[in-house]
C-alpha cells in the first residue's frame, strides 16, 4: 500500500516537473500573434476604411495620430505596428494621453479598459468631434463609443456603433461594416 502511494506521488512529481521544465526552458517564440498585436494592427487598419471630415485634426498637423487614453495595454506593440506606416498619405504617430480633453488632436483614440468607470464622461467630451473612438471595455460601442473590441473564442472581433460615427461626421466604408461582428444602427 505504502509503495503504491509512493509510486503515485512520484508520478505526480515527475509530471509536474516535466510540465514546469517544458514551460520554463524554452525561449520566447510564439507562433500565434498576441491579442494586443492584433488590436494594434486593427487600430492602424481602421484608418484605411474611415473617411474623416475635412476639419479633422490630421488635416491640420500633417500626421495621422493614434492616441491611447488610460493604462496602455500595448507596451511597444502599438509603436512597432505603426512604425514607418502611412495612412491617408500621412506618417502615423502614437501619442499617449491622460485626459479625454487632450483627445482633440487625435484621429483615432483608443480608450483603455482602465477608463471604464469614466466612460460616460469621456464620450461626452468627445461627442460629435471627428475622432474615431475605439474601446477595449465590454459593451464600449453599446455605451456610445464608435468601435468596441471583443475577444470571441480566440479571435479579436469588433462591434461598430454606426450612429456614433455618423454623428461625428465620420464615414465608415462597407468593408469595415462587413467584417464587424455586430453593427449597431438607428432604430
Amino acid at each position: 500500500m505504502a509503495q503504491v502511494i509512493h509510486a503515485g506521488r512520484r508520478r505526480w512529481a515527475l509530471g509536474v516537473a516535466t510540465a514546469a521544465a517544458m514551460a520554463c526552458a524554452l525561449p520566447a517564440a510564439a507562433q500565434r500573434p498576441r491579442e494586443y498585436q492584433v488590436k494594434a494592427a486593427y487600430l492602424y487598419g481602421f484608418g484605411r476604411f474611415v473617411e474623416w471630415p475635412a476639419a479633422a485634426p490630421s488635416a491640420a498637423d500633417g500626421a495621422f495620430v493614434v492616441c491611447v487614453l488610460g493604462e496602455d495595454p500595448f507596451g511597444r506593440l502599438l509603436d512597432q505596428a505603426v512604425e514607418g506606416g502611412v495612412v491617408k498619405n500621412q506618417p502615423v504617430s502614437v501619442r499617449r494621453i491622460g485626459r479625454a480633453e487632450d483627445g482633440g488632436g487625435c484621429d483615432t483614440l483608443f480608450v483603455s479598459a482602465s477608463e471604464q468607470p469614466r466612460l460616460p464622461r469621456i464620450l461626452e467630451v468627445l461627442d460629435h468631434r471627428p475622432v474615431l473612438t475605439v474601446g477595449d471595455s465590454p459593451d464600449f460601442a453599446q455605451h456610445g463609443g464608435m468601435i468596441g473590441f471583443s475577444v470571441e473564442g480566440s479571435r479579436v472581433r469588433f462591434t461598430v456603433n454606426l450612429d456614433a460615427a455618423q454623428g461625428a461626421g465620420l464615414m465608415l466604408q462597407s468593408e469595415l461594416l462587413r467584417v464587424a461582428a455586430t453593427v449597431l444602427r438607428g432604430r
Binding site: R10, R11, T18, A23, Q31, R32, P33, V38, G45, F49
Partner: protein, 669 residues
C-alpha cells in the same frame, strides 16, 4: 515494479521531447514574415490569438462556478468524444464504464446515469427523462465547430430549470460565419479506430451564412477480462446550421442534425425460464434527429426578445427494450434594462416529451408503455447593480410545472463584488430539483434472487415518487494575480433531500408465469445527504507560447436514511461512487515550426463503494501544421498503464479502460 518502470520511461520521453523541441526553438525565427498591419480587416478578424490569462468578461461577471473550454482547448485535448473533453474541467468526475458508457458527475450524485446534470447543445436539452440522464454516445457534435463548452458547477435551476441539480453543461457551436470553407479531418487509432469528418461553410447574399457537415466514427471495445468484447460502437451524424443577421438587431438561427449508430451493450436480464438470469449481449440500434430555430430581436435600445423552438426525436432499439421519444420545446426570453441599475429578464417555456416504450422481456417493462412528460415554466430574474461596476445582486426564480409533482420552485439569490479589475468575490444560495424520470415512476424490473425456494425480486416505479431537491450554498473568488497568473477558487455546501432510494421488500406469492416468491421494492425518496468541498483552478501563462493550468477538487458526501427508510446500499453508493480527491495539471506549448505540444497529468482517488482503485495517468498530444491548412496530430491517452478501472458494473467483470493512441490529419481551405 514494471508499471513504475514504464511510468518513468513515459515521463523521461516527455522530458526528452521537451528538450529537443526547446533546442529547435532557439534556432527558429520568432516573428511571422508579413507584418500584421498588412493584413485585411477580414484576415485580422480570422486570426487566432493568444490572450493573457484574463478570462472573458462574462466569466468575471458570473456569480457562479463556471469554467469555459474554448475551441483551442478542445483541439489541444486530442480527444474525440464530448465526455472525454470534460476531464479538462476541474471538479467534473468523468468515469468511463466501458467503450460506450460514461458516468459523469459534478460535486457528487454520480451514477451510471448522469442524473444530476443538465446538458444542452445550442440550447437544446439532451437530458432524457426516460431514466434521467444523458446518452453520451449519441452527442457527437462535430468537435472542430464547437465554439466553447461552458460548465457550470452547482445548482442552476433558476435559469435552466429542473434537473440542473449539480451542474449544467452548455455546448455552443460556432456561428456559421466563423466556420467558412472546407474542412476534412480523418484519423484512426487503437480504441477510436476511425473517424472521418467533413464540413463545408460559406455565406450567401446579405448577412446569411451556413455550414453543412457529416461525421462518422468507429470505436473498439475496451478491455474485457472474460473475453466478451461487447462494447464496440459506431455512429454517423450529419447536420447544418444557417445564421441570418437582419437590421435592427434581428438574428435568426436554424440548425439540425440527424444520426444513426450501433452501440454495444451487455446487460443482465431476469428470466422465468432457466437460467433464471441471462447476460444479454448485442447492439443497440440508435437513431434520431433534431431541428432548432432561434430568433432574436432588439425591440428597443433597452429590450431584446428571444424565441427558441426545437423538435428532437430519439429512437433506441436496445437489446433489452426499445424507446421512441419525440420532444417539442418552446422558450421565450425577454431582457430589458430598467433605469441604470436593473437588468430584468423574464421568460416562459413549454415542453412535451412523448415516450413510447416497447418491451422485449417479460421481466422488464414500463407501465404505462406510453407517456407524455410535459413541462411548463415561467421565470423572472433581476440583476441589480447596487453599486455600478462594483456590487451586483441577482435575484430570481423559476416556477415549473411537471406531469408528476406539479409546481416546483427554483429560486436563487446571488451577489457579486468586483473588488477591483483584478479581483472578484461572489456567493449564492440556490434551490434546484430533479423531477422524476420514467424509470422511477413506471418501471417493472424483475430479477432472479435465489434458486430454492425460487425467489425473484422486483424493482418497481412509484407514482408517488417525489422530486429530489437540493439547496446549494456557494462562494467563489477569482483573481488575476499578475498579468499572466489567474486563479479561481470555489467552495460549496449542498443539502439534498428526497434522494431516490429503494423501499423495504414486500413479499408475495406469485403463480404466473411460474410459481415463485416475489419480493417487491419500490422507488421512494428515503435519503438525505449533504456534500461539502472546494475546487481550486490556477491558470498560468508565463510566456505567450506557454500555458500551465490545473485544478484540484475535494469532495465529501454524507448520506443518511430518513426515518422509516433502511436503504443502506444506496447510502453507500451516494457516499462512495465519487472520488474524494481529483486533480490535473496541463502544460500547453505553442512552439516554433508550427508545432504545439500538450501534456495532461491527472489523478482520481478511489471509489470506496466498489473498491475501484484510484489512478494517476497522463495524456499527451503533439500537433504540427505541416503546410498552410494542413495539421497532423498524434494524441495518446492513459499513458501510464495498459488499462485501468474507472467505474463499476455489478453484473460482470469491470471493463478496463485501455491506453489509446489516435493519429489524425486535418485539412482546411
Amino acid at each position: 515494479m514494471t508499471r513504475l518502470h514504464r511510468t518513468r520511461i513515459a515521463s523521461l520521453l516527455v522530458t526528452v521531447l521537451g528538450q529537443a523541441v526547446a533546442a529547435q526553438a532557439q534556432n527558429a525565427p520568432a516573428q511571422p514574415s508579413v507584418p500584421l498591419r498588412e493584413l485585411s480587416l477580414e484576415q485580422l478578424a480570422g486570426l487566432e490569438v493568444t490572450t493573457v490569462a484574463k478570462q472573458p468578461s462574462e466569466v468575471w461577471r458570473t456569480p457562479a462556478a463556471i469554467t469555459v473550454l474554448t475551441q483551442d482547448d478542445i483541439r489541444r485535448s486530442g480527444v474525440t468524444t464530448l465526455p472525454e473533453l470534460l476531464r479538462l474541467v476541474g471538479g467534473v468526475q468523468v468515469s468511463r464504464m466501458d467503450s460506450d458508457h460514461w458516468a459523469i458527475g459534478i460535486r457528487g450524485l454520480t451514477s451510471s446515469f448522469s442524473k444530476a446534470l443538465l446538458v444542452l447543445i445550442d440550447g437544446r436539452s439532451v437530458y432524457t427523462p426516460l431514466f434521467g440522464g444523458v446518452y453520451w454516445q449519441v452527442q457527437e457534435t462535430q468537435l472542430e465547430d464547437i465554439e466553447r463548452i461552458e460548465v457550470i458547477r452547482g445548482p442552476g435551476g433558476t435559469i435552466w430549470g429542473s434537473n440542473a441539480v449539480n451542474g449544467v453543461i452548455n455546448v455552443i457551436t460556432r456561428h456559421s460565419r466563423d466556420s467558412a470553407g472546407l474542412l476534412v479531418s480523418a484519423g484512426g487509432g487503437n480504441v477510436d479506430q476511425g473517424r472521418l469528418s467533413v464540413r463545408y461553410g460559406g455565406s450567401g447574399r446579405g448577412a446569411m451564412s451556413y455550414r453543412v457537415y457529416a461525421t462518422g466514427s468507429n470505436h473498439d471495445s475496451q478491455y474485457n477480462r472474460d473475453g466478451h468484447a461487447y462494447d464496440e460502437w459506431s455512429l454517423a451524424q450529419g447536420g447544418f446550421r444557417i445564421d441570418v443577421a437582419r437590421p435592427r438587431g434581428q438574428s435568426l438561427r436554424l440548425q439540425g442534425d440527424v444520426y444513426q449508430g450501433t452501440m454495444g451493450e451487455r446487460v443482465a436480464v431476469g428470466s422465468f425460464t432457466p437460467p433464471a438470469q441471462v447476460l444479454v449481449e448485442g447492439s443497440d440500434d440508435v437513431s434520431g434527429g433534431n431541428l432548432v430555430a432561434d430568433w432574436e430581436r432588439e425591440l428597443s435600445r433597452r429590450t431584446s426578445l428571444r424565441l427558441q423552438a426545437y423538435y428532437d426525436r430519439t429512437v433506441r432499439h436496445a437489446v433489452h427494450f426499445g424507446e421512441e421519444r419525440n420532444t417539442l420545446d418552446v422558450d421565450l426570453l425577454l431582457r430589458t434594462a430598467i433605469g441604470r441599475r436593473h437588468q430584468v429578464s423574464w421568460g416562459a417555456g413549454a415542453r412535451s416529451s412523448r415516450s413510447d416504450v416497447t418491451s422485449t422481456y417479460p421481466t422488464l417493462f414500463l407501465v404505462p408503455e406510453d407517456r407524455d412528460q410535459r413541462l411548463a415554466s415561467v421565470y423572472g430574474q433581476d440583476e441589480i447593480a447596487v453599486l455600478p461596476d462594483r456590487l451586483f445582486v441577482t435575484l430570481g426564480t423559476k416556477l415549473e410545472h411537471n406531469t408528476y409533482t406539479g409546481w416546483e420552485v427554483e429560486p436563487s439569490a446571488r451577489v457579486l463584488w468586483r473588488v477591483d479589475r483584478q479581483e472578484t468575490l461572489w456567493g449564492g444560495v440556490t434551490r434546484a430539483v430533479r423531477t422524476p424520470s420514467r424509470i422511477e415512476t413506471d418501471l417493472r424490473l424483475t430479477f432472479f434472487a435465489a434458486p430454492s425456494p425460487l425467489i425473484y425480486a422486483q424493482l418497481a416505479g412509484s407514482a408517488g415518487f417525489d422530486a429530489e431537491a437540493v439547496v446549494g450554498v456557494e462562494a467563489g473568488y477569482r483573481r488575476l494575480v499578475s498579468a499572466s497568473f489567474y486563479v479561481d477558487v470555489t467552495a460549496f455546501h449542498n443539502t439534498y433531500k428526497n434522494l431516490s432510494s429503494f423501499s423495504p421488500f414486500a413479499i408475495s406469492v406469485q403463480t404466473t408465469p411460474i410459481p415463485h416468491l416475489l419480493g417487491t421494492t419500490t422507488y421512494e425518496n428515503g435519503i438525505r445527504a449533504t456534500s461539502d468541498g472546494f475546487e481550486v483552478s490556477p491558470d498560468w501563462r508565463p510566456r505567450s507560447w506557454a500555458r500551465i493550468r490545473g485544478s484540484y477538487a475535494l469532495l465529501t458526501i454524507n448520506a443518511t436514511n430518513r426515518p422509516g427508510s433502511r436503504d443502506l446500499n444506496n447510502v453507500a453508493l451516494y457516499e462512495g461512487s465519487v472520488p474524494r480527491h481529483q486533480a490535473f495539471v496541463q502544460a500547453s506549448l505553442t512552439l516554433p515550426r508550427h508545432l504545439e505540444a500538450d501534456y495532461v497529468q491527472r489523478g482520481v482517488a478511489r471509489l470506496v463503494s466498489h473498491s475501484v482503485p484510484g489512478y494517476v495517468t497522463g495524456d499527451a498530444r503533439l500537433g504540427w501544421e505541416a503546410a498552410k491548412g494542413v495539421t497532423l496530430a498524434v494524441a495518446a491517452q492513459n499513458l501510464f498503464a495498459p488499462r485501468h478501472l474507472e467505474f463499476f458494473r455489478d453484473e460482470f467483470p469491470n471493463p478496463g479502460i485501455r491506453r489509446s493512441v489516435f493519429v489524425s490529419a486535418t485539412w482546411r481551405r
